[in-house]
């Protein structure tokens, strides 16, 4: 047992699995113990279960679908904008624009939503564009880092094979880094998912998980809030897993 508390010690797969099971068990035990009695911080497992049932009866699946659809549309639009900006950033005259978009990630959400609200009247479109605006800044930042990380020797290699500059861009950056783009989406997904819930809770008209959370929060229904948190976490981790699976399955050469 001593080796389990030794820094840098390698453990077998089964042992690693047992450690994870131990911690999950410990977490559940702590949850049970701390939610017993009259006064407690977290809702009891029974309250959370009730919250799940209530949410399901109120159309949880529809709200999940609504959030996922919003996420897919926003990611799609944002990644297209970010990719165009990133690929064109290899052209000196475009580079400052791409860098400026990346820097805009420091802008607060409120200021931007004000101007978007003036331009867009539809709640759903508004949600999409708030997300797209913010995701584009984060995605552009990560994609610019991806391009900057490409070694000079890869460009030299393409040039030595008589590729003109546009071919170099196509072969080395666009085609050669598709797997990295998926990884960039995966890494930024946590921010997107977190913002999605925030955006939905600001503009409740179109529903979604954010709307449900806000609604539950208003009525201090903690069982429902924790149930929703579990749903959101599980969905986020599932998307993360799917993206990682796609990258490893379709891009055999990808060792990121």
């Amino acid at each position: 047992m001593k080796y389990l508390v030794k820094p840098f010690e390698d453990v077998g797969k089964n042992t690693a699995r047992m450690i994870v099971i131990f911690w999950i068990g410990a977490l559940l035990l702590i949850w049970f113990l701390t939610s017993m009695g009259e006064r407690h911080l977290f809702p009891s497992p029974q309250q959370v279960l009730t919250g799940f049932v209530e949410l399901y009866n109120e159309g949880l699946v529809v709200h999940i679908a609504s959030s996922l659809w919003l996420c897919v549309i926003a990611i799609f639009v944002a990644i297209i904008i970010s990719l165009i900006l990133t690929y064109l950033s290899t052209i000196p005259v475009i580079k400052p624009i791409a860098i400026a978009v990346s820097k805009l990630r420091y802008l607060p959400l409120t200021g931007i939503t004000f101007y978007l609200a003036i331009l867009i009247s539809n709640a759903r479109t508004m949600q999409i564009w708030v997300l797209v605006t913010f995701m584009s800044t984060y995605l552009t930042t990560s994609l610019l880092s991806m391009v900057n990380a490409i070694g000079e020797q890869e460009f030299d290699h393409a040039r030595s094979l008589k590729c003109n500059r546009w071919e170099v861009l196509w072969e080395v950056v666009v085609k050669g880094r598709i797997d990295h783009v998926i990884e960039v989406i995966r890494q930024n997904l946590a921010i997107v998912w977190m913002m999605l819930v925030t955006v939905e809770s600001i503009l409740v008209a179109a529903g979604g998980l954010g709307f449900l959370i806000k609604n539950s929060d208003k009525f201090m229904n903690h069982g429902r809030i924790i149930a929703l948190q579990i749903v959101i976490l599980t969905l986020g981790l599932s998307i993360d897993f799917i993206l990682s699976f796609i990258r490893k399955t379709f891009f055999r050469y990808s060792k990121i």
Binding site: G151, E154, D156, H157, A158, S160, L161, K162, G176, Y253
Partner: protein, 275 residues
């Protein structure tokens, strides 16, 4: 061993490369001609040796057209014309380049990479396929045909990178430290690859750098030592050719490594340490 020199294949005059105020290489002048030996096809094998940071890689980037010379010119034989004696300034893609890491397209298998290298050749799909398969077989890469670079050994990567350049760049090839990081077996493979390229066409010219002086002396028929020149008793801080050994004139080229070669190794080491 009798030989004669014919057309000029490589002409470098007053070459210098500077990045901003920093001069990396300067006053580089050399000429390499087509060497003809009776009864055998012999390409040119030219080695560049020198201590680290003396500008070998910059010289190679200039020779391959990947960096524009600040001054001077690099001319190669325009082998596409009938006479074979016309000269042209080197441009990107004229001279093949295999870097130290044997860089390949990370998203292309060996077959796809070679097919890409042949994309501009006027050949049918079948001819391209046959050519690729014949090279893969000759260079021992048949089993690696559908593998990606990250699934290849160092030696396999290097051979793939060399074939790519043979397919695309004609008669000239630059290899930056082709023997570094290879085990004994792979070094033998690389030496065989040199012989193979050299025996394919009399115009084929291999230029390579190495820190292994014995290998430079064993393989090359012309050796240039790159180092800092001494001017008025002080080292200048740019690389240039400080010594040239014409192994053909010394009657040491194309021969088994012997005492004569050992003497050259000594002289090269002395020249390197002094520069």
């Amino acid at each position: 061993m009798s030989y004669s020199k014919h057309n000029t294949l490589l002409y470098v005059e007053n070459l210098s490369v500077a990045y901003g105020d920093k001069v990396i290489i300067k006053d580089i002048n050399f000429v390499e001609k087509d060497v003809v030996r009776e009864g055998s096809v012999t390409g040119q094998v030219i080695a560049f040796v020198g201590r680290s940071g003396r500008g070998k890689s910059t010289l190679f980037r200039a020779l391959t057209g990947l960096v524009k010379p600040t001054t001077g010119k690099i001319l190669i034989a325009d082998t596409l014309t009938d006479g074979g004696n016309d000269a042209k300034e080197v441009e990107e893609g004229d001279v093949g380049f295999v870097d130290q890491k044997y860089t390949l397209f990370r998203n292309k298998t060996v077959y796809e990479a070679l097919l890409f290298a042949l994309r501009n050749q006027k050949m049918t799909k079948e001819e391209k396929h046959d050519k690729i398969m014949s090279y893969l077989s000759e260079w021992g890469l048949e089993k690696a045909k559908d593998q990606y670079p990250n699934e290849l050994s160092g030696g396999q990567r290097q051979r793939t990178a060399i074939i790519e350049q043979i397919f695309c760049s004609g008669h000239y090839m630059v290899l930056d430290e082709p023997f570094s990081g290879l085990d004994v077996g792979n070094i033998e493979d690389a030496k065989n690859a040199f012989n193979l390229i050299s025996s394919l066409h009399s115009f084929n010219t291999i230029m390579y750098s190495t820190h292994d002086i014995e290998l430079a002396v064993e393989l090359a028929d012309s050796i240039y030592v790159i180092g800092y020149p001494t001017i008025d008793g002080e080292h200048a801080h740019y690389g240039t050719i400080v010594k040239h050994f014409d192994m053909k004139a010394l009657n040491l080229a194309w021969k088994e490594f012997g005492l004569g070669h050992l003497e050259i190794v000594k002289q090269i080491k002395t020249a390197m340490l002094a520069s």
